[in-house]
Amino acid sequence: MQWETVIGLEIHAQLATRSKIFSASSTQYGAEPNTQASAVDLGMPGVLPVLNREAVHMAIKFALATDAEIGRHNVFARKNYFYPDLPKGYQISQMSLPIVGTGTVTVELDDGEIKEVGLTRAHLEEDAGKSVHEEFHDATGVDLNRAGTPLLEIVSEPDMRSAKEAVAYARKIHSLVRYIEICDGNMQEGSFRCDANVSIRPAGQEELGTRSEIKNVNSFRFLERAINFEVDRQIDILEGGGEVVQETRLYDADKDETRSMRSKEEANDYRYFPDPDLLPVHIEEELIESLRSAMPELPDARRKRFIADFDLSEYDAGVMTADRRTADYFETVLDKSGASAKLACSWISGELFSRLNKDSLELGDSPVDAERFSALVARIHDNTISGKIGKDILDKMWSGNDDVDAIIDKEGLRQISDTSEIEKMIDDVIAANPDQLAQYRSGKDKLLAYFVGQVMKASRGKANPGQLNKLLQEKLKE
């Protein structure tokens, strides 16, 4: 039997607001337990929610980025259930009238194929707190710092047909929400969480199979593995004559398997109803237009522009637009250094990224910002220094505050492009290596590199490599 996999994703993106969705507490990650839980977050008696404007704006930005409908009249509802990390006994969410309606996301797969994934909806809701099981003997501890953090729950249509497609879609959403700066995308800290609804059906069948929902996946790599495990599990069940049960399953990364989450499995009846403490949210045309005009250029459009205007390769354009910071950095360097796009791109994706990687830093935390980096690239571009010396200078800029020109001056690293000066060094080297000269002239061309090295050494690396090469070849022929 040929099986077809059907996957839909529910992504919870934590919105990058300063304060919570319904209270004025901080959303900062990592605080001491319950120190960022106000009376509203704790669900104290009598206290009331008031909606954060920024959360609404961020949801609208998402709608604009995905060409989705905007719920001009959207309503908050209560989802009622008991759990220790849910202080009020209900989660404030949106049900029948969400802030974002249907939309589309274009996903590029590894083989270059373009796939359109439908968005069902995206709604605003509050996050729950966290339970800690390990720290206490015979008890669970509850930390409500995260309770009330704004989430945008982004629900896709069941349009994906493989784990790879699901990952490509999730990565696309991840890049998009970071691009429009509504979510920091930090998966380790739980700012971006994916739940996958997975089912299989005989190829060609219209009707969907019974799905399971995989929760607790905190990396793209695990998402792919969890889906693949789940697909295999369901095929085994069906081919063994069994039936898939609709349930929530937890992915265990250590064992690389999913298992049933029985604790949450009892038939839930959430008794959604409109939250009487909150009024309908009306979104005016003016607001949408002002947010639209402030929208950044989106990654797809920017990539196309980089290819068309700067002649970058498809690959390089992809790397330079992977996130907004990189693209902005690149454009600043391009603009300020006067260098070619190719040179700017190779210095960013090569030297800059490898140093950031080595020190586990984000681009935003780079010790060398786009301005200082532009000056460095400019000096390479105008031949003041060679690429090799550029790398040494970047190391010094990385650990200190000096700019490229100060380092060049202080250490006398200015590239030697004066023909007579280079010729003088070449003459000295040829005179000191008569044997090698003879061998070269008798046909051992490889020795050219030896001579280049010797002259470079004599110039302490400062000789203009292009000039050196040209002059050396002429001299050796004489």
């Binding site: 009376a39 669900g43 104290m44 008696p45 009598g46 209560r78 009622n80 009020k88 006994g89 109803f273």
Partner: protein, 482 residues
């Protein structure tokens, strides 16, 4: 001293006839003496009140004024959170709950200079019409201690009627200010929904709850409401609208005002003697120049059925936070999480609260949501439309506050539905969000009777104006139980 109205006390304090300390001390002594019988107060904050009174007297001596209620004694229904003072909501669940914050209403009255003498008894979580549902015991009606004071603000009404305190705060979800005011022979107003902040007022049914004052007279209600009302950024349902000065318009003439008499309010079910008292009141108002016309509120009879779905539905969700985890009652030795929830809530909540939680949970659950919850919300629309139509022609609607005077303690406890029908005249205003006032208009066998006036949205000033004018030509509001 205790027989004075709030307004009279204000004048005496200003003229130096007595001090705030003397006044508060006198009332606290009276309260201690009578509370054993009435059970109107669940906490008396003597020390705090006297120190605030002393500070108020000192300020006054120095020529400073704290605000319009400078040094005046009041009490809060125990549903309003008071920083550092136990707020029980009449429930075992919150028997030991001392909030570290004030309700907006408490904050506002305090900053206007009012001094709280304590917290008044109430039906548990404001669910009840007789004050028999309090964990702290039944409140007795000062006119006849074998009878109920009404509810849920029964402690506040009994405290004012018994002249333990000149004015109290209350809340009204289905009549909980107006009905006890009527039973106790005092005046109480439920403002327009959104006029008084709900922040820090423990929620029963969020879309119906509204705080307001109870006092002997309409003038005293105006004094208090002037400070209670106002926009609160912490309550999303609070209306951002300029405050009216309710005192400024009290003396305007009633002449030319058009008052509607809904046919449905005077039909079967209404006590004959109450009907007769209403006719007398109508005559008094006519003498003042008001005109009366007959009107229809044709879905009136569906208000109680709709209310007893909407209110329990909201309460079932609002009371989910009382789970024994962060505050409130927790059962002994829970064997697991479910046991913790189920026993803490079973032990912490009384019978009526549990009854409403169950009904509300049922009405919201899969398969019943449309038939009950949505249906009730639609009936709510119809009732609201009936009022809009009526207010196109009239300024106010007049009727009884209750179908009968105060009933005997225990008389209706065995039949919840019979108890619910007590609120038949008060509930429609809550469903529509309209303001309503109850004013004493006579007595039946020594038991006070109230008339109700319902106004259009934000028409509190005119409601208080008409009530005050009525009280200048009648003396029912001046009677004090023997």
């Amino acid at each position: 001293m205790h027989k004075l109205t709030l307004a009279a006390m204000q004048r005496s304090l200003e003229s130096g006839e007595f001090s705030s300390v003397e006044l508060c001390q006198h009332l606290i002594e009276r309260t201690k003496q009578h509370n054993e019988t009435l059970n109107a107060f669940v906490s008396i904050t003597e020390e705090q009140a006297l120190s605030e009174a002393k500070a108020a007297d000192e300020k006054r001596a120095a020529g400073d004024t704290l605000g319009s209620l400078h040094g005046l004694p009041i009490a809060h229904k125990d549903i309003f959170c008071t920083d550092g003072v136990r707020t029980s909501c009449g429930s075992k669940m919150l028997e030991n709950f001392v909030p570290p914050y004030n309700a907006t209403v408490v904050e506002k009255l305090k900053s206007a200079g009012a001094i709280s003498l304590g917290k008044t008894n109430m039906d548990e979580f404001a669910m009840g019409s007789s004050n028999e549902n309090s964990f702290f015991g039944v409140v007795r009606n000062p006119w006849d201690t074998e009878r109920v004071p009404g509810g849920s603000s029964g402690g506040s009404a009994a405290a004012v009627a018994g002249r333990l305190v000149p004015a109290c705060t209350g809340t009204d979800t289905g009549g909980s200010i107006r009905q006890p005011a009527a039973f106790c022979g005092i005046t109480g107003i439920k403002p327009t929904y959104g006029r008084v902040s709900r922040y820090g007022m423990i929620a029963f049914a969020s879309s119906l709850d509204q705080g307001g004052p109870l006092a002997a007279t309409a003038e005293d209600c105006a004094l208090l409401l002037n400070e209670m009302a106002g926009f609160d950024p912490r309550d999303s349902t609070s209306i951002d609208r300029a405050n009216d000065d309710y005192m400024a318009t009290l003396h305007q003439p009633v002449k030319g005002m058009k008052i509607g008499l809904p046919k449905q309010y005077f039909e079967a079910g209404l006590d004959d003697s109450i009907a007769a008292l209403l006719q007398q009141a109508i005559k008094e108002l006519e003498k003042l120049g008001a005109e009366f016309v007959d009107i229809e509120l044709k879905n009136q009879h569906l208000a109680v059925p709709a209310y007893y779905i909407v209110a329990p539905a909201e309460c079932s969700s609002n009371l989910a936070r009382f789970d024994g985890v962060r505050y409130g009652h927790r059962c002994e030795d829970p064997k697991d999480l479910e046991d913790l929830y189920k026993r803490s809530r079973a032990e912490g909540f009384g019978r009526e609260v549990k009854r409403r939680i169950l009904v509300g949970t049922y009405a919201l659950s899969a398969g019943y949501y449309d038939a009950f919850y949505v249906k009730a919300q639609k009936i709510r629309s119809l009732i609201s439309q009936d009022f809009s139509q009526a207010f196109a022609d009239v300024d106010f609607i007049l009727g009884p506050t209750t179908p009968s005077p105060a009933f005997k303690i225990g008389e209706k406890t065995s039949d919840p539905v019979a108890m619910y029908l007590n609120d038949i005249y008060t509930i429609p205003a809550n469903l529509a969000g309209l303001p309503g006032i109850s004013v004493p208009c006579g007595d039946v066998g020594g038991l006070p009777v109230g008339l109700q006036l319902v106004g259009n949205y934000f028409d509190e000033a005119r409601l208080l104006n008409v009530a005050h004018q009525y009280q200048t030509v009648t003396d029912w509001h001046t009677r004090i139980p023997g």
